[in-house]
Amino acid sequence: MKKTLAALALGTLLAGSLGATETKDPRLELMKEMRTMMDAMEQIQRGGLYSSTDEMKLGVKKLQGTLKSLEGEEVKVILPKDQVYAYKFAQKTAHMLRLYSDDLIASIDAGRMDDALEDYTQLLRQCTSCHIRIRNW
């Protein structure tokens, strides 16, 4: 009986600790999203350099999938503490990323590749602009 109770207690503890690790840390989530954004940017660039519009579109899709966390109020939770006040700036950056990435798709569909590549340049500029501001470069 004692063994059964001990096993039960151990099991409960283990389950508890597993549950705790499953609780999402917003900052870790942000880091994950940022890595995805970087992958997305690389994919768009690769598509542009290899003349693959499909690759570019996939990159845009991946990028846009990461924007929700920056666009909403939850951005306040994920920003570094000394930069929380600047959450409007992060939201504006997310808005511009969406605008340029939408235009990138529209430009590809219209065959305006110069505009599409310019949109990529502006996407990258938004990334660096936000990093300069939020990470105090």
Binding site: Y85, A86, K88, F89, K92, M96, L99, Y100, D102, D103, D115, E118, D119, Q122, R125, S129, I132, R133
Partner: protein
């Protein structure tokens, strides 16, 4: 005066004007004329089309008008004290030029292009991260208020001295809008002083400009006759200032 002397006088006058075009208008000017560009003269009017009088401008309030293009926002401010005069400025290309002073009875009225020279932050109908910080408010960008601040990357510009850079990442002053103050107290925009960033602005913000101003041809249309001038708080739904 004989014919030869007359021709000499005309040639001398033409040379002087060619070297310093600002002598024609006698307002703000570039030292060698290269950083001044005259555009079509436009009267600043309110939303109802009524001419704005310099003396009626509220103190320390940022007003917005589009000039010299239909989509390039500029700010108009009536400062609390007279501006400096004959301010020597330097563009990021290293060219020196002179901002003469504010206009109006007490030389307190100034106008600048509201496009930050660092990364082109500008007011839109949605929001604004650039504007004048009144003397009774604080800013993170500079230890004193009464300055123009771009809240994107915290650049500060001296509103009373040709928008000279006071701090932050910007490397050259905001472009100044050359104003004429008429005898009837009305205000007219006549040109732009400084190394302008309009080409970069049109290129960088093409999708946004299209959203707010329509096709490129519409957005790049030169403003003529009048420029509608409204408070920044009316121009942008949200004003963000750090």
């Amino acid at each position: 005066m004989d014919r030869r002397n007359f021709l000499k006088v005309v040639a001398a006058g033409a040379t002087v004007v060619a070297v310093s075009p600002s002598l024609i208008r006698g307002n703000l000017y570039a030292a060698d004329g290269t950083l001044y560009k005259g555009y079509e003269k436009a009267q600043l009017v309110d939303a109802a089309g009524k001419p704005i009088k310099a003396s009626a401008l509220e103190k320390e309030v940022t007003y917005i008008f589009n000039y010299p293009y239909a989509s390039t926002p500029c700010m108009l401010i009536n400062l609390p004290k007279p501006t400096s005069a004959e301010v020597e400025l330097v563009s990021e290309g290293g060219e020196k030029y002179v901002w003469k002073s504010g206009v109006g009875k007490e030389r307190t009225v100034v106008a600048y292009v509201a496009i930050c020279t660092h990364q082109l932050t500008h007011p839109t109908p949605n929001d604004s991260f650039i504007g004048y910080v009144p003397t009774n408010k604080k800013t993170m960008a500079y230890d004193k208020s009464g300055v123009i601040v771009c809240s994107s990357h915290l650049s500060a510009f001296d509103a009373g001295a040709g928008a000279k850079v006071l701090g932050g990442a910007a490397t050259q002053p905001l472009n100044a809008v050359v104003l004429e103050h008429a005898a009837d107290d009305t205000l007219w925009a006549v040109g732009i002083l400084g190394q302008d960033k309009f080409h970069d602005y049109f290129q960088a913000f093409r999708p946004e400009i299209k959203e707010f101003y329509g096709k490129p041809a519409e957005a790049k249309k030169l403003v003529s006759l009048s420029a509608k001038t409204v408070k920044l708080t009316e121009f942008s739904k949200e004003v963000i200032q750090y």
